[in-house]
Point group: C2
Chain length 562, copies 2
């Protein structure tokens, strides 16, 4: 922990390449025990420095979709930049392994870091597809093996939640404000912090999570809760009733009376008459207090008692009183009930207020909706018609309720220049061997057409040249493509000491977010739709195809039917 604390997000130590992961609990011990038992076995066999290449990829897009947003890379790079085992950690490893393990191994652990490791990755925030490695890690097999679990941990959830956020954005539409409100239901403290970070990356606009705002500069949003409303009994308990006008020129000595006079005007107005009786006084007191505290940014929760019979009239009375003093209320939040219906009724009420009292712009008051929203309910709201301007989404986006895990894996594809394959009776689980290069080929209309993996030393695809793209495992699926643009996907994010490659910069979160938004917009729409999207094509070169199948036959035992 000492080491980890020293590498916290708030400052780099002298001599360090970069700050450590956001969560100081991300240490070399945040890994599976078998990574250490294997490290010992490699060391014991003298194999620990064998040069291994591992691919990190997933096999299926989440949420029944046909795309995934890659996220979590920055945390991985910050992790390896600071990867060293402290004495305390080494002594815990010693305690956890059999006592027969030789002391030399612990000396070896004492010396390891990631200077011999190279990491190639697709840029964070990119749209990615099954089987194409998002990250390729090369280095001494024992060290790279130790990285497997933390890398998967840091990427699996990050990519899942970023994808989930992007899907919510897709359904909500570009013009709506999307707010992440999930901290309380998240899977632990940095289930919450990670969710806020990666929801923003995936296209959300703001979060309620203050710690995430501080750590990542994400805009913060929040109003008040039901408890705030019910903590008041009646306007009588408000002691300081005065409110200075927005321009500071006058002071209203009794803001409560001003609100109450507006409330009776609303109650007795022609157009609104009869739609409600007496409003809830505890709610009225709470809204007045909130307005006195935040006259410039008054946004009120209106469903504690009854939206149309109490919350909305109370809100409008306060908003009109604020208006008298030169303040413009921000809007309301609905947290229960039929959101389509209530948002439309609320909008009608706002329009009627604008007309009745000639308060221009009142009809444009913001309406925020929350309460267990997800892709399906957003879609249903769209179909029903609604007047919501901003959605607060919690549980479903942060816990990825409809699919709580992404199945990224980390597979050995080459060791000491020998390509390796992992077989499985389930073809979708067979790994694609070899250290590979990956390219995205773009068509005439600017859409990405296909991703292709090639062997490391094959000539890369060229613009305007006809290339045969083959499905890695299905002989009959193949297509010729003439790319209009070729993008190499894997870039060097950690060159180690061995490589001449320049290290790609880790861009700020806002830039990663913008890349994500741009890439999603660039996709052909049929890949993106919610219902029956078209799968995006992922292929291998003809040469790699042949090699995969040669290796497969070589490794697979021949059955004997009896």
């Amino acid at each position: 922990m000492e080491e980890a604390k020293a590498n916290g997000p708030n400052g780099e130590l002298p001599g360090r390449v970069m700050a450590g992961p956001t969560n100081p609990m991300v240490t070399p011990l945040l890994t599976d025990l078998y990574q250490f038992t294997m490290a010992y076995a490699y060391w014991k066999a003298g194999k620990h420095n064998d040069r291994a290449v591992f691919d990190l990829y997933f096999r299926r897009n989440p949420f029944g979709g046909e795309y995934t947003v890659f996220a979590g890379l920055e945390e991985c790079i910050k992790f390896i930049a600071n990867f060293r085992l402290s004495e305390d950690e080494i002594s815990f490893v010693r305690q956890s392994l059999p006592s027969s393990c030789e002391e030399g191994f612990y000396n070896y652990l004492r010396g390891i870091d990631c200077t011999d490791v190279e990491v190639y990755a697709i840029s964070e925030g990119s749209v990615v597809f099954p089987k194409v490695p998002m990250v390729r890690v090369e280095g001494p097999v024992a060290v790279v093996q130790l990285l497997e679990t933390p890398f998967l941990n840091l990427i699996n959830y990050a990519s899942l939640v970023a994808t989930n956020a992007a899907r919510h954005r897709f359904v909500a539409g570009k013009s709506k404000l999307l707010l992440e409100f999930g901290l309380r239901r998240a899977q632990g403290p940095d289930g919450g912090i990670g969710a806020s970070k990666y929801c923003y990356l995936g296209g959300f606009d703001a979060t309620s999570n203050v710690a995430a705002g501080k750590l990542f500069g994400i805009p913060l949003r929040g109003t008040h809760s039901h408890a705030f409303v019910s903590s008041f009994m009646s306007p009588d308990e408000i002691v300081d009733k005065s409110l200075r006008s927005s321009d500071g020129s006058t002071t209203c000595e009794d803001f409560i009376s001003l609100v109450q006079s507006w409330l009776s005007k609303i109650q007795w107005s022609n157009s609104l008459h009869g739609t409600f009786g007496e409003t809830n006084q505890s709610e009225l007191a709470a809204l007045i207090s909130y307005a006195l505290a935040f006259p410039n940014s008054f946004l009120a929760l209106v469903d504690t008692y009854d939206v149309m019979r109490s919350g909305i009239p109370n809100f409008c009375a306060v908003a009109l009183a604020l208006n008298d003093l030169g303040y413009k209320a921000v809007g309301i939040r609905l947290d229960s009930g039929d959101l389509a219906y209530l948002s439309c009724e609320t909008r009608n009420f706002f329009c009627a207020i604008e007309e009745e009292f000639g308060v221009s712009g009142f009809r444009k008051m913001g309406i925020t909706a929350s309460n267990d929203l997800n892709e399906e309910t957003l879609d249903a709201l769209n179909k029903q018609g609604h007047e919501v301007d901003a959605f607060g989404i919690g549980t479903n986006v942060v816990t990825c309720y409809s699919q709580a895990a992404l199945g990224c894996v980390f597979k050995l594809v080459e060791i000491n220049d020998q390509p390796r394959i992992k077989l499985s009776e389930d073809v979708s689980k067979v790994s694609i061997p070899c250290k590979k290069r990956c390219f995205r080929l773009y068509g005439k209309e600017g859409f990405p057409l296909v991703d292709i993996m090639t062997g490391e030393n094959e000539p890369p695809p060229k613009v305007g040249e006809r290339i045969l793209c083959r499905h890695p495992f299905n002989e009959s699926k193949r297509a010729y493509v003439v790319p209009q643009r070729v993008e190499e996907l894997l870039k060097c994010y950690w060159p180690g000491n061995f490589s001449d490659n320049k290290r790609e910069d880790l861009p700020p979160l806002k830039e990663i977010r913008q890349r994500c938004i741009n890439q999603l917009e660039q996709m052909r729409p049929d890949h993106m739709r919610r219902l029956n999207p078209t799968p995006y094509k992922v292929s291998v070169s003809a040469k790699l195809y042949d090699f995969i199948h040669f290796l497969w036959l070589n490794e697979a035992p021949v059955g004997e039917l009896q």
Copy 2:
């Protein structure tokens, strides 16, 4: 962060009551922005020190079951014990609120801590039910409000995953070893660390997560991965082939030859003849290497190529060679395929080896199964019949894949001695007002019969006395109970400065785990079964019932049908 780091899990600072939460990212800023905007509004209204009582509870048991395991309390108490805002945090709050907010508020924030807060809670690891508060927090309304989000965050996932673990244990049965392998798929770093802690609490035996082993003393387990197997090409690459015998008396100079001679004996044995051809040499090399590294604890993954035609014969040859040198192999792990079938075939093979070569005990070799296991697959394995001794469970248990969130809420039930109610059109969302006491009533056979909530000043239920238990919202559901034992559920875990109550100790994790196991065993079996379990009864006293409905009528607006 500075503050938080200082409160890390590895040591208490002088003058501190206890160490801070496990994750140093759990700071007062790990909360929703609206807690701070409300705090400001309370402060501005002079209400911030109003004495509030909040209940933390959930409305529905997860996973379609009828029970929940309460977890996360210790982290909450460690959080409030160290609750203070640092200057850095205060300046971030200032930055996040409108500039019109008065400076006095930040001075107020500077001074707050939890010395005026009292926390009453059910003991961690207890079996709990909907609507009954697991935690009751009392204190100045602005401070308690700030605790809402972190408390929910720390309890929601903890209780969810502990319940999930308990359910897996229930299906697997007491005699099986349950191993949590989920770190790589968890929702972020302490999605992983929390999962390991609370799976253990809920009845698992061990984890693969080294950091969790170090932090919480949870037993660790792990073997090797498929990558380890495929990193070897053939036994030729093993340099040091010697292995000393278990008693140290002799050294086998060529362990590889010993294994190979066993492999041909197996291949040509009468009982096993013809069941396999040549085994995979890369696998054989990996297993030999692993055995040379861990002769005392040899446990091998056998499904990299083909379980019955390669993995099992290779394993047996190595295990028999180890046996020659006085070592006892531990067993195998299956990570794919038909686990019921393969485990039975494997057991048969072990039995045949025992008989053919007279190696006593070989048939009892351990069989561990992994690969996307969950409650359903465990249940299916039971029905099919299997020979698995230990289950490694990852994704499904740690992400709570079948239900990724528990819906705990934190509701105001009283302020300045005034009971408060939160209404909702959905009756199940109406809160139960008043500061309450909660009791569990036990019947003649020792089973818990019903939980009952009463007003704070009502006489508590007594053994042998007839008590009317009423459903809080359904008039017709009521029953008389004569308890044989009465257990008060809410105990004082944080007395603040005001209370004379003694603070309950926070027991070590092992003790909490044992409480959980004991309580689950104490439940009437029909509440526990997977299919159509009987709901456990949760009730209120007659007096509290009447009061709830009085308050409800009082607060609800009267509709006007038009």
